[in-house]
Chain length 220, copies 2
Amino acid sequence: MPVSSVRPIDDGAAKRPRGRPRKTVAERDDGNRRAELLRSAARLFRRKGFDATSTRDIAAAVGMRSGSPFYHFKSKGALLYAVMQEGMRSAILRQQQALQRAERATPDVAGQLRILIRNHFDILLGPGSDFIPVMLYESRSITPRQRAALTELQGEYEVPWTPVLDALHASGQLKADVKLARLLIFGALNWSAQWYDRRKGASLDELTDAAMKLFIGEKP
Amino acid sequence: MPVSSVRPIDDGAAKRPRGRPRKTVAERDDGNRRAELLRSAARLFRRKGFDATSTRDIAAAVGMRSGSPFYHFKSKGALLYAVMQEGMRSAILRQQQALQRAERATPDVAGQLRILIRNHFDILLGPGSDFIPVMLYESRSITPRQRAALTELQGEYEVPWTPVLDALHASGQLKADVKLARLLIFGALNWSAQWYDRRKGASLDELTDAAMKLFIGEKP
DNA sequence: CCTACCGATCGGTAGG
DNA sequence: CCTACCGATCGGTAGG
């Protein structure tokens, strides 16, 4: 498509030095424009919240005009849901990989809990970690049906935790009721998204140490 | 003021059987209309979030017209901030009372932690508990200056916790670094506002038991 | 505290 | 993916 396409109003003078910078053909039409939208949306949703973020904000963040996000997503809500789904899928995958990586070392139960916690912090607080916080803190803005689907994914994510917590309870290292303990533990971890600052304070390893000591009184 | 005040447009027929029910003089002008607004705002802010709640929603919840909340609060943001301030002030007061109430029994350190945790759950999950959740989950929507003021109040709230956690650390009952432990503990507690349902599941006492066992391995 | 109103913003769409 | 646009909603205000 040549530079001078149809312009309903205003055209005549100018060789187009005004306006946003044109993208090359290679940049647009690229299938990962969608991924860029997701990333920018996640970042904005996290920083400002879903309702306070306009689709225009998101468009501008990736160099699009106001109407263009709707070419990739049929609504603002669909964008939010896509962010959350992507976050959960990625979290489940990374958790599986972390567990497989540790398999050779055959850690004891406490060691397994450590793997899970350390990985959880990574997903939650590591670089590019906006998707899961958005999922955790913006779930008010999705439909009940969407929420149900995400709850299922969360259940999948929690699967590996159950046998570990059960075993720690059986061995007396975890005294509390397992179901409540799981909720309280996830709370302690998830809340860190509110206060943790990667640039100062404890490292994720130190955080994991503290969590292990707090929950089972030791750090393997 | 008589019933027939000036009506710029439309007046003539009718003896006013239409429209909302009129309030008696005793009901309006009452100083606690402000308090009603605060309560309704807290409930709506919690259920739908600050941005998704319109000042019209709040007005309707107390039987006012759309412009009237601005007679009591100069902006929507001022209403939010008032909710948060009220929540913190009340929380600090109730915590002091809980500690004084327990003073005669001279509980040991673990017993003191139990008092603090039990009271925290009460503030967070008990009847009429919308103010603190709003404070915890809507702080993105207030100004930096307001946030600083609230952080100060939160510091005041945390004052009694520090010596307790320090003592538990010194006695070996709390193994984790005290500062990180405090953050993780508050996370575990605060997150309960996301999942706890007063009508089913554990009671606040059982929740407190679980938290105590999880954090220091026993429940005094 | 109500009435009547305003400017701004927003999600979304038609048509190319 | 852009242009141009629309209807709806919203926070807030003047004047009583």
